[in-house]
Amino acid sequence: MTPLLEITNLNVRFDTADGTVEAVKNASLVIRESECLGVVGESGSGKSQLFLAAFGLVAANGKVSGSVRYRGEEILGASPKQLNGLRGGAVTMIFQDPLTSLTPHMRVGDQIIEALTIHRRVPRAEARGQARAILDYVRIPESARRMRQYPHELSGGMRQRVMIAMATITGPDLIIADEPTTALDVTVQAQILEILRALKTDRKTAIAMISHDMGVIAGLADRVQVMRDGEIVESGTADDVFYAPKDSYTRMLLAAIPKASEPPPPVTAVGAPLLTVDDLKVTFPVKSGLFAKTQKLRAVDGVSFVLHQGETLGVVGESGCGKSTLARAVLKLAPQTGGRVVWLGRDLDAATQSDLRALREDFQIVFQDPLASLDPRMPVGQSIAEPLKALEPGLSRESVREKVRSSMARVGLDPSWINRYPHELSGGQNQRVGLARAMIVGPKMLVCDEAVSALDVTIQAQIVELIRTLQAETGLSLIFISHDLSVVRRLSHRVMVLYLGRVVELAPAAALYGDPRHPYTRALLSAVLTPDPRVERAKKRELLTGDLPSPLDPKAQLTFLKSRLNTPDYRPRLDEVTPGHFVAEHD
């Protein structure tokens, strides 16, 4: 039988101002009917370009050679008209960012109908009915109302469902899903993967799943191909690749993934309390229209915790749960509206601006996006030196330079790179620069705000290891914020789970991962993907249904305490179930 898609010796090259870049080198693959092929690789491995090139979507400066056969018919170099008949009809695509893939000024329903009327020539009235049916299929509640909405009115998860609906409505043979869940929260990711799994089993659609995440691939793919630097380094059935990897790179990829079984770091002798946060509140005024009443968005709504010397507190939550706002409020980068932040017995509220600036030597922050957090016009050495110059203005140029060099060496950067610019370094190296900048003033506390989230897994593992080493060397306290529970587990002594600006569970890491009490924590943990096909296939998921409620909704806090819905101002209480393990009230 001829396979659905057969790519043979595909090469993609780009002519850029800096020379020729070979994005894909001699890649060959086969996708059979109703089969899921997982394509794994780190950023820049050419995994997306491979499929874009196969369907004639490569950028204008790209040159493609090789052979691409769809049902035995050569489509490489086919006319745009021929390709348009294929794309969006028999072969559809889902991209990473659903907001940029949907036309902002068109109603969601019309966009879905458009796909159908163009490719299947279905009359509009009938198409409308089909569109509603497909929205129900991808589990969008109130599909009739959603069809009249615009993309910006939907949440990220909803938009991705709309994309899937658009991609399935024409009844394609093959869906190419390019990192479809990367921009989504774990619980939403689990829901989307569930839909894709259903597509594969019910509709017999073949799926090409492109992802950097071995966990995403594990649960879905029948066969897996691993790409590195434009080449396919390993291919085989999912079980072979995961359980008996032959290539050293595949082994490295698998080893870099944080395992659920990995024990949390040992609880060292924790010192005296360093930071005490008491009932911290941050609200932002939100105005939805010209004459609308200003509403209060409670980003952080009464969070209390204590951080001890040498301890790591992991802060976990989905986007919009206020974890970054919490970090900024603790560091006095965002104004708090209530509560107290006490640093070594000193109330930071009372501190003047200049006192606060002096105190910044004690607490530093590392940001999520390594490139965005460095000034593009400054050599990295200057960026690293900046806090030092601002906080210790008396230092001579020579000693600043010496300190920058030793700080760079400490985070594993070659000190001779002192005059390089951020755009010349990789993401991991830039994040090391960010760490060097934070560590140069010798802080007592470091806040890592999603500090490893934007990095590839192998780099992620290195940076986590570096942070651990720095902590062991200096006795630093850490607040480690992440949406990724398995990364948090690697570093944290205690973990705090946030939901819409409130703590739902706070416990020692072993207790939280071993004996989660709150339903939200349990849902989060069950949504975490493991790079183990058998475990993933067998897993029974505790899926949350629907979206995160709007934080503007006063009842949102009571999602897990439905019995109190008649008193909307009620806030769930934190109970200490065992010593040190706090859980919010729930039904």
Binding site: I365, L374, D375, S383, E386, R410, P415, R437
Partner: protein, 304 residues
Amino acid sequence: MIATGQTLKSSEEIMGRSLWADARHRLLKNRAAVAGMIILGLVALLAVLAPLLSPFAYDEVNYDIIACAPSWWPVEAACRAPGHIFGTDAVGRDLFVRVLFGARVSLAVGLVATLVSLLIGVLYGATAGYLGGRIDGLMMRIVDVLYSLPFIFFVIILMVIFDRNFILLFVAIGAVEWLTMARIVRGQTLSIKQKEFIEAARAGGVSPFGIILRHVIPNVVGPVMVYVTLTVPGVILTESFLSFLGLGIQEPLTSWGVLISDGADQMETAPWMLLFPALFMAVTLFCFNFIGDGLRDALDPKDR
């Protein structure tokens, strides 16, 4: 850990390739922009060396050769003035040296007024954008009020009160040009303010003014430079417009605007009097525009 054992000498440090170096590289590959820069350099050189290039002084009147064509003028002319390569004007002054002196004034007005507007506009706009809130609102409303003043009216009043003089021209033009600059810089600052590296600098204890100087301004320089190259020709045109109305430079000093105005009066009898200053001005404006285009492409290669 790499290279911890030995301390590297500074000569061994790798010099990074800054975004500026990249932009310069791209700019130098842009033929139109490079040609613009060369021609503009030549015009500037001619203007500076003007007294050395001609045996005549710019205010040397010679009633024997009033409005005479240069000796090479191809069309029939009433009289010819050998030695005067661009011919002479209505009172017999050498046109070549006057065009070059006009270039001095026009370029000087263009550059100085632009620099003034740059200095005020960048600081004002960056401060308003970075501080934000009420201060921003107040500062930008002041700009709006100044914007709404009718420019020509404003200049005429200045000229009447303070008498006509050269400096006043800079002040008048600069006072209007910085407004647009401030708006552009403010807009850019607002978007840069959201970037994480600004927050990183705040977390590192850098003062607000330090952030504006070290992080905001260097990052708005790109769009500002483009605007500058487009402002200079605008200012030159404004000056010639004012001179055309008789509000600009006074005799015997001259500018391209004055020369064009005079030349336009005698267009039919002595076309060279209009042609040469107009040609110089047009070429110069073209050069500035090409450089501006080249700079925009060089600084922002993605938006091409």
